[in-house]
């Protein structure tokens, strides 16, 4: 089974079980209580704190950190979760380096922010380990709401609606709820099956039923049907489609969508048995590209390259993510675009063309370079798919006004499928929560 890192092709068992275990352990190990107290003491409890403004869910960060410092992590967790019900996952996956921690006055002053993400994780871990759910439902309203998509936006919306006394049914196309938290987040950021544990904890509020393996448009699930059966509908269907490379040889075996690769790794029972190429080339410049590249490396690929068509500063992945990738041995290659995948029967090489920006437009220079590539992972973006015709679009996403109101009465949308906001877990949570408040206000009007 021990193929080693240099065996050609896409193979499992490149590393020992010890190496795999080490590689896929927690990226940021949790704080011990004393560490948390010391880290919390660094917070200056800023007035009208910039970190709160930077948080898409407006968590009262100075307050929850002060609660940790004062030995009340459960209270801290409640402060967090009252704004962001997926505060546990967000503590793990938020790009804090471009959100709260970027604007922390200590980052500005010393280049060393208060570690808000890790503190948030400490607080939410304490509460979730205790297994308690601090929120209770209001009196039943008798209203029923359908939520399509059990990802961060759908879960946040459902929880808030349930809390307000409504009955919620969540539909999801996948076998498990969680959306990208379950199928998309890098394994080393959400260890110990945290995504499912968080969903189970969230559902303790009551009043929410989850139906999996049901997608909009099949099995009789239609927007019109849902509108007829429920008092309101919230669409959080994410971006189910993946973009094509438009490069020759894209259909050769060995070329995969990065999102599928990431999902497979997340769902794998035994990572030792999960295959990966010797030479992996990831096409793209976002978080998905970085996650796929790092995972390939951690699985034992000998060489992993991220090929991005623009420069480092234009990359969707943050500097932190870029540094994470390079620290794991991933090579970042800039200003190259895929031209052709070569190979007799399967991919063996990729030909990249250098790019330059001329008159504001990116174009190939004609100069090419060929890299060995027995596995090519495409991470050049996801797109909206399966959206009901009745909905107006804004660009290539569902058009919304206010707190997620779509062009169809009684239908709200949020998360990655809706226009506006960054495609982040935390943004999706905020949109789901705010849509719930608007749905509630509308139904009570």
């Amino acid at each position: 089974m021990a193929h080693g890192q240099t065996a050609p092709g896409i193979l499992a068992g490149r590393l020992s079980s010890e190496e795999i275990e080490t590689n896929f352990s927690d990226l940021h190990p949790p704080y011990a209580p004393h560490e948390a107290a010391v880290a919390a003491d660094r917070c200056y409890f800023c007035h009208d704190a910039p970190c709160v403004t930077a948080c898409p869910t407006d968590i009262d960060i100075p307050l929850f950190i002060r609660q940790i410092q004062a030995g009340n992590p459960e209270g801290a967790a409640e402060t967090i979760l009252s704004q962001n019900i997926l505060g546990g996952m967000c503590a793990r996956v938020c790009p804090t380096e471009t959100l709260c921690e970027e604007v922390c006055v200590r980052e500005v002053a010393e280049g060393k922010p208060v570690e808000i993400g890790r503190l948030q994780r400490f607080a939410t871990d304490v509460l979730m380990e205790a297994g308690t759910h601090p929120f209770v439902r209001a009196a039943e309203t008798g209203k029923r709401i359908a939520v399509v998509g059990a990802g961060p936006a759908g879960l946040a919306c459902a929880h808030r609606l349930a809390m307000l006394g409504h009955q919620v049914t969540i539909y999801d196309a996948n076998p498990k709820p969680g959306g990208l938290n379950e199928y998309g987040i890098a394994a080393y950021k959400a260890t110990n099956d945290f995504a499912q544990a968080e969903v189970d904890w969230l559902l303790k509020i009551g009043g929410i039923s989850v139906e999996c393996d049901v997608a909009l448009g099949d099995g009789g699930l239609t927007l019109e049907g849902l509108r007829g059966e429920f008092d309101a509908v919230f669409l959080a269907i994410g971006l189910a489609g993946v973009n094509a490379l438009r490069a020759q040889g894209e259909d050769k075996p060995g070329v995969h969508h990065a999102v599928d690769f990431i999902a497979d790794v997340r769902q794998a029972d035994d990572l030792l048995k999960h295959p990966v190429g010797r030479h992996v080339v990831v096409i793209g410049g976002g978080m998905t590209a970085i996650d796929a590249a790092v995972k390939s490396k951690l699985l034992g690929a000998e060489h992993v390259t991220v090929a991005y068509r623009r420069g480092a500063s234009a990359m969707g992945a943050s500097k932190f993510e870029q540094d994470l990738a390079t620290s794991k041995g991933v090579k970042l290659m800039f200003n190259v675009q895929p031209k052709q995948v070569h190979g007799e029967d399967v991919a063996t090489e990729i030909e990249l063309e250098y790019t330059a920006t001329v008159d504001g437009a990116l174009q190939g220079t004609g100069e090419t370079v060929r890299l060995p590539a027995d596995q090519v992972l495409k991470a050049i973006g996801q797109r909206l798919e399966g959206v009901p015709d009745a909905l107006h679009l804004n660009g290539n996403k569902i058009a919304v006004i206010g707190a997620g109101r779509t062009s169809v009465e009684g239908v709200w949308a949020g998360g990655d499928c809706a226009a506006g906001g960054e495609d982040l877990t935390v943004t999706a949570v905020a949109e789901g929560r705010d849509a719930a408040m608007d749905i509630d206000a509308t139904l009570r009007a």
């Binding site: 004393h34 107290a37 010391v38 003491d41 200056y44 409890f45 800023c46 007035h47 009208d48 704190a49 910039p50 006055v105 200590r106 500005v108 002053a109």
Partner: protein, 434 residues
Amino acid sequence: MADLTTDFLGITSPNPFWLASAPPTDKEYNVRRAFEAGWGGVVWKTLGAEGPPVVNVNGPRYGAIYGADRRLLGLNNIELITDRPLEVNLEEMARVKSDYPDRALIASIMVPCEEGAWKEILPRVAETGADGIELNFGCPHGMSERGMGSAVGQVPEYIEMVTRWCKTYYDKPVIVKLTPNITDIRKPAAAAKNGGADAVSLINTINSITSVNLDTMSPEPSIDGKGSHGGYCGPAVKPIAMSMVSEIARNPETHGLPISGIGGITTWRDAAEFISLGCGNVQVCTAAMTYGFKIVEEMATGLSKWMDEKGYTNVRDFVGQAVPNVTDWQYLNLNYIAKAKIDQDQCIKCGRCYAACEDTSHQAISMSADRVFEVIDEECVACNLCVDVCPVEGCITMEQMQPGTVDPRTGKRVEEEYANWTMHPNNPMANAAE
């Protein structure tokens, strides 16, 4: 290198850092380690009268309060005087003094308030060769319930009486250690002087409960579910100690009386501050109990370097240098007008100054939409709270207004002349004749 050799009451020691009478000086083993580590002197753990020694509790003796990262800020204790036989202590003291003739060795004593008790113990202490004695009139726990320690220190007449007995039956220096658990520290200090004391040392520990266990509802340290107030010490008590020291130093009745400063001294700077307020040397306990005896190296090198910078060649050069600047509130210059100034280059925009001023003070700091914080001179009374809460040292400063300019808060011209409350028109007691 400045010479740290100190002469206190004719007792010389290689530096002004003595270990206070406390657990670190309870026996020969510890004291030898202290001297090897470089301490200038020790005040041996308090001796009691001949006979069966006192007993200590068998549960926790200490409680603490902490800053971040468990930095010990305050410690309290309910330990009593030495619980070892008098004979053993005296033998050890004699041996140690003989082996370390250049170090100061002082015997702390606490016996009942009867002339016979003191008359009996003093010759035996003298036989050890100790350089002097310190009368423990300070311990606030346990022994005070038996009419000793702070029970004596709270009655100036007793202090004077016992001091006089000691000066009668002992011919080396007598230091009187004072309790801070009293309303006016000047009274016991004057009593000690009147009794013939060569010096006072202060402060002893402060009555305290460090915390309450909210599960058992017992004060800490807890002995079988009960607690008793202990004596508080450590960095937290330093400001209280310095105030008391300064009161004695500037009181005409006791001015010039040598003082051995005690109370939270942890670094060379703490020591220098106590000395500037009139102390001829200092005694340390909690810092040693927290970090071990090695801290004296930092204290000695730090003090020496600072003295070199200032041109002081001997500790006595700056003893009491700050005393003339300690005054009563009524004599502070009311014509000294300052305004807070925020250095925008240093400001990290946390807004703590704004919150403090806006919520709890004079609404004298403005905040813009892009988080620029500025002082409103029309409102600023120069209270200094913004300086105190600012996390960046030196970012906010108090700038004196120059005479002749107009204070925008009052609309009045800043006068050059010194003027205090005793002269102020609002003061009904002001001398009308002036």
